[in-house]
């Protein structure tokens, strides 16, 4: 992961675009799964979906600033590992809570927004896991914070589209 940050800006941009494509493709692939999982569950309201997105934005934003802080080597390793684990647990809980909202009769924009939310949360979970492994490697942490920033922006766009 640390190697990626050593490339030039053009390469980084290509990687970012590639990452964005993966996220969008992933969101579409996740859609049928979301619909399947939603059978028999309660219908999500616009407010509930917005609330779910706000929570995900909060988690992404917090992960971003904390990982930036770690990149500046300002935390103890026990605190870093512990807090990242708590963040990861919170993301897992949020994914689980979101699964209760997924439902076929929801209007399409809501279902799409939820699909994006779930996919981005899983990406965030992976980034937090990766940061736990990269503790003490500022360049890798910096790259991770950058990717989390993109996740946050995607979530904010999904929220403002509602």
């Amino acid at each position: 992961m640390a190697d990626k940050t050593n490339h030039g800006p053009a390469h980084r941009q290509r990687l970012n675009l590639k990452g964005e494509h993966h996220r969008i493709t992933g969101a579409f692939l996740a859609l049928p799964l979301v619909l399947l999982l939603g059978c028999g569950q309660k219908q999500a309201s616009r407010r509930e979906v917005q609330s779910a997105l706000l929570k995900s934005i909060s988690l992404a934003s917090e992960s971003e600033i904390f990982i930036q802080y770690l990149g500046q080597e300002r935390s103890t390793s026990n605190f870093a590992l512990g807090h990242l684990q708590y963040l990861r647990d919170e993301i897992t809980r949020t994914i689980s809570d979101n699964s209760k909202l997924n439902t076929p009769p929801s209007p399409a924009p809501l279902t799409n927004a939820l699909a994006i939310d779930n996919f981005q949360l899983r990406s965030l979970q992976q980034e937090v896991d990766a940061s736990r492994q990269s503790s003490g490697q500022p360049s890798a942490l910096d790259a991770s914070a950058q990717r989390i920033r993109e996740i946050r922006i995607t979530l904010q766009k999904a929220n403002s589209s509602l």
Binding site: S51, S75, T76, N78
Partner: protein, 411 residues
């Protein structure tokens, strides 16, 4: 020097009450959602707790009536017993939450397994309280809790807008929307409630008797109640400011204890994290001790049984079994897997509902010239006490509906 150390009762009471697990996260959340707009709730809560802490200390010293003796005599046996059960349930839930918080902090400090940290910390705490006199308990937690000052320093280091901050002491919501209004009300009630948690007056009035205060010490009573509460309040303001400066612009809604600690150390380097962790550990541990001891005080005072940390252990068996039992049951509750912050959210709102039944008897006793003699409330004190009691009752009525309507404060 003795008088100076006497302040530690006020500091431990206030830090354990204001800067416990729930308040740390709750206040940071309030700052993250509303900036400085809820500072007035902290100021109002501080004023209310000073008034009632001084009153319960005065009643304890002059009439030798700690809070639960007052509850029994003023509310009668049935309502008094209901209040005792509710208050001790609340103490138990809060003690569980605080012990869970202690385990989290130990994990963040050392990397040790949380469950083992919980069991180890409970055993050490029981041992410490068992061998320590009351004065040493209050001094240990009162003084070590001062490490929390790192939160206030961090808040200042982030350069708050002092003009806007001062405006936060005037109630008012700047943004619109019904949900936003409900959330604002929920957080205002929650902050006010957390600052008036019953166990503060249970512990404070019992502490005044443990310390053998006499009517000539009543001036000290006011100083201890005021200074301790103002210090706790300043740290609470620091937490809210950190939420406003660090989390509000970034759309973070902090839901973890470690997030609030991170905020407390944010402008500084590694040592600040350790200070913030140790300060939080001291306050949360102090709150766990306060709630466990309060549970035992309440039962013994209600049934007029011997109680006190300074009595020989065999002379007060129910009291000693009571607080040890509180610690043991509280740690078992956490070991079942309940999350400390879930527990504490519930305890803040549940605490509000029970609050009138604790504060009303204190006001009645302090206003009774038969038992208070020349130390009875002045007319002004009665007016202020009654106005605050009305406010407490209004908050108690609105607490549960607000919790349901806002999904326990979720934005």
């Amino acid at each position: 020097m003795k008088k100076l150390l006497g302040i530690t009762l006020g500091i431990m009471t206030a830090l354990g009450g204001f800067v416990d697990l729930g308040q740390i996260v709750f206040t940071t959340q309030a700052g993250a959602l509303f900036g400085y707009q809820l500072l007035w709730a902290i100021a109002l809560g501080t004023f209310a707790i000073i008034v009632y802490m001084e009153m319960c200390g005065r009643v304890a010293v002059v009439a030798h009536e700690p809070v639960f003796a007052t509850v029994r005599t003023r509310l009668g046996n049935r309502l008094g017993l209901a209040t005792l059960i509710a208050s001790n349930l609340l103490n138990l839930i809060t003690c569980s939450a605080e012990l869970g918080g202690v385990a989290i902090i130990i994990h963040l400090l050392t990397g040790w397994n949380e469950r083992l940290a919980l069991i180890g910390a409970t055993i050490i705490l029981i041992g410490f309280v068992l061998i320590s006199r009351f004065q040493w308990i209050e001094r240990t937690f009162g003084l070590s809790g001062l490490l929390m000052i790192v939160f206030a320093v961090s808040a200042v280091a982030l350069h708050p807008d002092w003009h806007q901050l001062a405006r936060g002491f005037v109630p008012g919501l700047e943004s619109s929307g019904s949900n936003r209004g409900l959330l604002y009300a929920y957080f205002a009630v929650g902050i006010f409630s957390a600052m008036l948690m019953e166990y503060e007056v249970h512990f404070y009035s019992s502490g005044a008797i443990e310390e053998d205060w006499k009517p000539k010490d009543l001036g000290e009573n006011f100083m201890v109640a005021s200074l301790g509460s103002i210090l706790g309040s300043l740290l609470t303001v620091g937490l809210l400011v950190l939420g406003a400066l660090l989390f509000l612009p970034r759309h973070v809604f902090p839901e973890l204890l470690s997030t609030a600690i991170f905020a407390g150390a944010y402008p500084f380097a590694q040592k600040a994290i350790v200070f913030a962790l140790l300060g939080t550990l001291a306050c949360i541990t102090g709150a766990a001790v306060e709630t466990a001891l309060s549970g035992a005080y309440n039962v013994c005072q209600f049934y007029d049984l011997p109680w006190g940390k300074n009595l020989p252990r065999r002379s007060a068996p129910i009291y000693n079994l009571g607080w040890i039992g509180m610690f043991a049951v509280a740690s078992i509750i956490v070991l079942t897997g309940l999350r400390p912050l879930q527990l504490v959210n519930f305890s803040i709102i549940f605490g509000m509902a029970v609050m009138p039944f604790t504060y009303y008897p204190i006001l009645r006793a302090a206003a009774d010239p038969k038992i208070m003699g020349k130390h009875v409330n002045t007319r002004l004190e009665n007016v202020i006490g009654t106005a605050l009691l009305v406010l407490i009752i209004l908050c108690a009525i609105s607490a549960f509906p607000l919790m349901i309507l806002t999904h326990a404060g979720q934005p």
